[in-house]
Amino acid sequence: MDLVLQYLVYFLIASCLLSMVRVIIGPSLPDRMIGLNLVAAQTLVILVILSVAMDRSIYLDVALVYDIFGFVGILALARYFSGTKEKP
């Protein structure tokens, strides 16, 4: 693996870790949802970078499928939150 890509993956994992703090300690549920969205976006970037580093184009399909179904999951969460008015 190229050295630049390797350090980039490490940096993104550390950034993922910092975003995960908001998912864990987030006071309200929309905070946690935004944190999950952030972690999902950074993991998507890690998947694409690893696919470029391993030089296999079939690995890009994982990132593609993850993006599509992650969007469905976030959509279901937003649909649930739009019905509730309570302050958690």
């Binding site: 994992i13 864990i24 987030g26 946690r32 999902a40 998947l47 994982v62 469905v72 649930y80």
Partner: protein
Amino acid sequence: MIEILLLLLFITAFIALQLKDMLASVLMLGVFSLLSCLVFFLLHAPDVALTEAAVGTGIGTVVLIWVVHKTGRRDTT
């Protein structure tokens, strides 16, 4: 790299078990599914990672949110 991810998987699963709010637990399970997808990817198993991304993240989150909506959010035990 894979040791860090396995440690994160353990921490995420433990927090998802300990949370009292069920919806927050579902969100932590989403993070768990994401990290396990990354672990399968690093172990050179893209088909397993593909299935994990489709089932664990997409269908699993939708079904669990539906169940929480039907039963109630707080863990009273």
